[in-house]
Symmetry: C2
DNA sequence: GTCTATACCCCGATAGAC
DNA sequence: GTCTATCGGGGTATAGAC
């Protein structure tokens, strides 16, 4: 699509370069979360960062690259948080820990949630979808909850269920996402998931 | 947002008016499904319909109104199809019928699926989300699968699971969505969903 | 009632001056 | 490194021909 960005890696470039990138990612995340993809125009981003539109483009290469960077930054916070919770749990409790951590993190950071949704809706490089369900499928198999032949669909359903619960919590603040997480976790542990 | 469209209802207006609207909705659906929301510009739509951009706008009022109309048209095809299948089933089998009809319809009409996804991702009037899960929640309660206190979350999880399965089938044609539907239907009937 | 022509403003992106 | 100027293209509004 677009040309390669000079400082694509977050660890490259000069001090000021990295600082600018970090600032731009922060501003973009906030703007995208609050106003949506379309509302986060380069002009508005530049305005908030106190730069010109062209200067922003100089640093990030293109709008899509900027969104991608903000997306990756946000996603890393989520995945590392979830991974920490999963690793701290015993294999049998890992699926429940995954569900709780996922819904908990996204419920506590609605801006992150909106950022991820907007980015995914607007042509962020979809990492094959397998990257989303495969880790969960492995967790499920290790817990003995689903066999190899069924773990993919079970993981997809749980992932989709998490998305739906988080979205609902976003639209209706009265909806108890923590209780929903427990309900989904109970389902995972229940007998319905594995054929006998 | 935008001004009211002259022939907003599909049954209003002149013969040519209705014909034009139908044609524009068809062209838009095809274009959005194949090229995405951004790829379906008014210029391209006008080009395919052999009209000028302004003429298109005359008939539909605005791009968002056009997308909304195409979305509603596509959604009606889906919901009427699913409703038919559900009504033909006994209450106890209704949840499974819902799941099969939903996944079956969307699997057979990938263009419809993409149209719905694109529209939902790009600011179509989200009908409160309740319109999505409430009908299913009622089906579940009638089937005795979920109690009143839990049917909302169960319906959300099933709905999200359906979405995830359909999306996966879109990205990976080798993925067996029919088998996944059966797996999800079996879960619904299983003991995992209801607390005892 | 249907459509063409035209003009407006904002968007993302590029070129070149400072 | 950062700016101004500019470009093509997007959605929209209006005037007026037929």
């Amino acid at each position: 699509m677009a040309k390669e960005v000079p400082g694509a890696a977050s660890s490259a470039g000069t001090f000021t370069e990295r600082a600018r990138r970090a600032q731009l990612i922060a501003v973009t995340t906030e703007l995208v979360a609050d106003e949506g993809y379309q509302g986060a125009s380069l002009s508005r981003i530049a305005e908030r960062a106190e730069l010109s539109k062209a200067a922003v483009l100089y640093h990030v290469g293109s709008k899509d690259a900027l969104i991608q960077a903000a997306y990756a930054h946000t996603l890393t916070a989520l995945t590392s948080d979830v991974a920490r919770a999963v690793q701290a749990a015993a294999p049998a409790e890992a699926p429940a820990a995954y569900i709780r951590a996922m819904i908990g993190h996204l419920g506590e950071h609605p801006r992150h949630t909106r950022m991820l949704i907007e980015a995914l809706s607007h042509g962020v490089e979809e990492h094959a979808s397998a990257e989303r369900w495969q880790p969960l499928a492995e967790i499920l198999e290790a817990a003995g909850v689903a066999g190899a032949g069924e773990s993919r669909t079970v993981a997809l359903v749980i992932g989709g269920g998490i998305d739906a619960i988080v979205r609902e919590g976003l639209e209706d603040p009265d909806y108890d996402t923590a209780a929903a997480a427990e309900q989904l976790a109970a389902l995972t542990a229940g007998s319905g998931w594995v054929r006998r």
